[in-house]
């Protein structure tokens, strides 16, 4: 989840892309955190995220992962997250999490000003911020912007450039729909931060152009 801050895209696209996730500090509040993570995921699930899961057990996009099994198997310190596609929902999720007072660190990746609005709307002030300064060095090794936008939807970069190209080819051949292609790409993202909704729209846009 360190890398969700490097998501690429135009501001208009980023308006539909918010990742909320929990982290625990090893020496401070990791012990006994499983029930809190459970509650975090239960609250997020209520608001219909496009993706949800944890880094240990995977995301609900994967073939063998069911939400109920996932939360039943949570362990202390399981980094977990969910993806929402609009600010109103994010604000509601945030409000319920503040009310729940879980006592574990909660982070949001997304447009900084919008997240700040949500914080103010819920009567809190943000604690710390990490900004991206983009990609440096050997940029000739990177593919075109659209491919990078899809690749960076997974924080750890597990969606390969080659898979994205293959998905685009399959869309052109009508072997897959944008929804199916987005789900296949999302399966590669173990931490459940891949925004399938945004990926689908990006693929549709690429097909049109």
């Amino acid at each position: 989840m360190t890398n969700t801050l490097h998501r690429q895209g135009a501001e208009e696209d980023l308006k539909g892309d918010y990742v909320i996730f929990v982290s625990m500090a090893r020496e401070i509040n990791k012990k006994g955190s499983a029930t809190k993570i459970h509650e975090f995921l239960r609250i997020c699930k209520k608001y219909n995220p496009v993706n949800i899961g944890c880094s240990k057990w995977g995301s609900v996009l994967q073939d063998d992962v069911e939400f109920d099994d996932l939360i039943a198997n949570l362990k202390d310190g399981s980094t977990s997250g969910a993806v929402f596609t609009d600010l109103d929902t994010l604000q509601k999720v945030m409000a319920e999490l503040i009310e729940a007072d879980l006592g574990i660190s909660i982070n949001v990746s997304g447009l900084l000003e919008s997240v700040q609005e949500c914080c103010h709307g819920n009567g809190i002030e943000r604690h710390s911020v990490e900004d991206s300064l983009g990609f440096w060095e050997s940029q000739d090794r990177l593919p075109e912007r659209e491919i990078l936008e899809l690749n960076t939807l997974c924080g750890h970069g597990m969606v390969s450039f080659n898979l994205i190209h293959k998905m685009i080819d399959y869309l052109k051949l009508r072997r897959l729909t944008p929804k199916e292609a987005a789900r296949i790409m999302g399966k590669c993202c173990e931490c459940a931060v891949f925004n399938t909704d945004r990926a689908e729209r990006l693929l549709e846009k690429m097909l049109e152009s």
Partner: protein, 271 residues
């Protein structure tokens, strides 16, 4: 990753899934893994559902379809015969999995993924305090991978600025000397999906770090991503923004926000 040649039917699905492009078709018509390129992320093994067909069965289907002038094409997210075999990794190759497979927890930090809590738990750890900046340089991201020799090159270039290399970071833990950024020689040839150098410094030093990173471009083969973090002021403003802009760099409009909901909240003496 290894491929069981007795099982592989050369469908090629794993070639595209591999984030490093390490899998290709061998002369025998079966897939093979370039072990230097492979970072042991296990994405192929996790994502491609094992259909569990015996290879002879796939061969028979192919023959029948060929008679009908049709071609066998497996669904894109399966391995028809379960040929992908995760090996038992020994040091130092085991580092590849630790830095590349998000399900593996780093032994030294107890954190999965890239192995560092950085600002994600800053509300309770106080890792970055008032007047301090965190700079994270992630080599290999996006999508290219990096060898530790490149990680060392960047760390050693930053060392004259006297950074505080974050001790609860798996890259720092591979250094034999945090004053120089020198890493353990045993690991230099290992390749990982990405690795994060994490330093702490005073806010006013941000320009020096960014200029140094600018200067060393061209000295490594690796792409890297740069992030800058700080503890917000009581009014929510972000102290590092001024210094990054003064250094002549542009910040993206998106980023990561720690909401400050962790407990017990770290209390700074000065606040």
């Amino acid at each position: 990753m290894e491929i069981d040649k007795k099982k592989c039917v050369g469908c090629g699905n794993c070639h595209a899934i591999c984030p490093m492009g390490a899998i290709s078709l061998d002369v025998d018509g079966k897939s093979t893994v370039d072990q230097d390129k492979c970072v042991e992320c296990s994405t192929c093994h996790r994502v491609l559902r094992n259909e569990g067909y015996p290879p002879w069965f796939v061969g028979a289907i192919r023959k029948v379809l060929k008679l009908l002038h049709l071609q066998y094409m497996a669904e894109v997210d399966i391995c028809p015969t379960g040929a992908l075999t995760p090996p038992d990794l020994k040091w130092p190759r085991s580092l590849r999995a630790a830095f590349s497979d998000p399900t593996v927890v780093h032994a030294g930090t107890g954190v999965g993924g890239r192995g560092t809590e950085e600002i994600k738990t800053n509300d309770v750890t106080g890792r970055l305090r008032e007047g301090e900046a965190g700079i994270v340089i992630e080599l290999g991201r996006p999508g290219t991978g990096a060898h530790f020799r490149d990680v060392e090159r960047v760390a050693m270039a930053l060392a004259p600025l006297e950074p505080h290399f974050e001790p609860f970071n798996p890259v720092t833990q591979l250094m034999v000397d945090t004053e120089t950024g020198k890493m353990n020689d045993e690991v230099l040839d290992e390749k990982v999906l990405s690795a994060i150098i994490e330093v702490k410094t005073r806010l006013e030093n941000i320009p020096d770090y960014l200029h140094t990173l600018e200067e060393i471009q061209g000295e490594t083969d690796a792409v890297f991503s740069v992030g800058v973090a700080s503890r917000c002021l009581p009014d929510g403003s972000i102290p590092h923004v001024k210094w990054v802009r003064e250094a002549g760099y542009t910040l993206s409009s998106n980023g990561k926000t720690n909401l400050g909901l962790g407990r017990p909240l770290f209390q700074e003496a000065s606040r």
